[in-house]
Amino acid sequence: MKRRVLVVEDEPIIRMVLEEVLEEAGWEVVVAKDGQEARARYTPEVELVLLDIRLPGVDGVELAEEFLTARPACRVVVMSGHGTPETVNRALRVGVCGFLHKPFSFEDVVSLLDELERGPVTSSARLAASPF
């Protein structure tokens, strides 16, 4: 059975590329363009959320906290700029397990998520160790 990832990104082209790249890598991809859609599509089957930190009308970190409070076993990777320390710390405090820094190479997305799949500690270390 395919693993399900929820991609929350307001920019349509980025959403489209991520959907294609992740589908090819074997994920079942569900997409959402804003917080409202993301909440509606955050079903129990979603194992991983790839979440843009800057979304219209909602704070990405608050949305991550909402998701993780509802289901702590789900993993959330935040897509952001290289981030201020405050934002990064806030995201880590609510339990975000990784950062995908914009601008990012689309070639890298799948390998980052695969790394996360192989073990949360190692993956988190690699993903979260260089938040800037």
Binding site: I13, E20, G81, H82, F104, S105, D108
Partner: protein, 252 residues
């Protein structure tokens, strides 16, 4: 001093001795600074607003460049011919190297200068992500002094490093199991700097072999010229070294 409604009144007091014959005297001038303070506050607010706007512009430019990279990626994925696909991927990486400058400016305190050493570390990380097959066998080391560069120098120099590192990934270790690429940024005397990209690979033959005198090298020469820099290329059995010297402060 205070106003009739008991609000504190900002004032400047000037006291000057008056040379009088009969007694000591002082001339006191009281200047009401209310308008001056109001103008200062207004200027400060305007400055902060412009800073926020500029920050937002850098953020949007970065996002737009990430979208352009996405479009190139989509096109690359629909291209079956490997060489053409490579052209799209290289273009995508060039755009991302520019996007990273705008992200760095967005994060910088004064919005006018990029910490180029930090930028190089992020750029190399990004390039490693884009070269998945090669990154398991090629080691890449960044040694950078802290050098602040203005946008007009950082963008072309970022592109230059992008080209040289990509070139090394693709060609420096042909027929070898792997190797090392070193990227150095050295602050020199008299407001100058040196950027070095070198590898311990097969050694560049001055572009005689296929693939190493392509658009990438043309771009390197053009962009080094754009920042009034000097390019020195040394190739031999021990590898290839590209050295660029330029002014830190941008084009004169």
């Amino acid at each position: 001093l205070s106003t009739a409604s008991d609000a504190a009144l900002p004032v400047r007091l000037s006291l000057n001795p008056l040379p009088l014959d009969t007694a000591a005297g002082v001339c006191m001038v009281v200047t009401n600074l209310t308008d001056e303070r109001r103008r200062e506050a207004s200027l400060l607010a305007s400055l902060r607003e412009k800073e926020a706007l500029l920050r937002e512009i850098h953020h949007r430019v970065k996002n737009n460049l990430q979208v352009v990279a996405g479009l190139l990626h989509l096109q690359a994925r629909r291209t079956t011919e490997p060489e053409t696909r490579g052209v799209f991927v290289r273009s995508e990486n060039r755009v991302l190297s520019m996007a990273l400058i705008h992200e760095s400016l967005y994060q910088s305190e004064d919005l006018a200068a990029v910490s180029f050493g930090t930028y190089l570390e992020k750029l190399v990380e990004q390039l490693l992500g884009a070269h998945r097959p090669e990154r398991d066998t090629i080691r890449i080391v960044v040694m950078a002094d802290e050098v602040l560069l203005p946008l007009e120098t950082a963008v072309p120099l970022g592109l230059v490093v992008n080209e040289l590192v990509t070139n090394a990934f693709k060609h420096a270790f042909t027929g070898r199991p792997g190797g090392e690429i070193r990227v150095e940024l050295i602050r020199l005397a008299e407001g100058r700097m040196r950027v070095v990209v070198e590898d311990d690979g097969v050694g560049w033959d001055g572009g005689k072999s296929a693939g190493r005198n392509t658009l990438g090298m043309q771009l390197v020469r053009t962009l080094v010229g754009q920042i009034d820099g000097e390019l020195d290329v040394r190739g031999g059995p021990g590898g290839t070294s590209f050295r660029i010297q330029a002014r830190v402060g941008g084009v004169a």
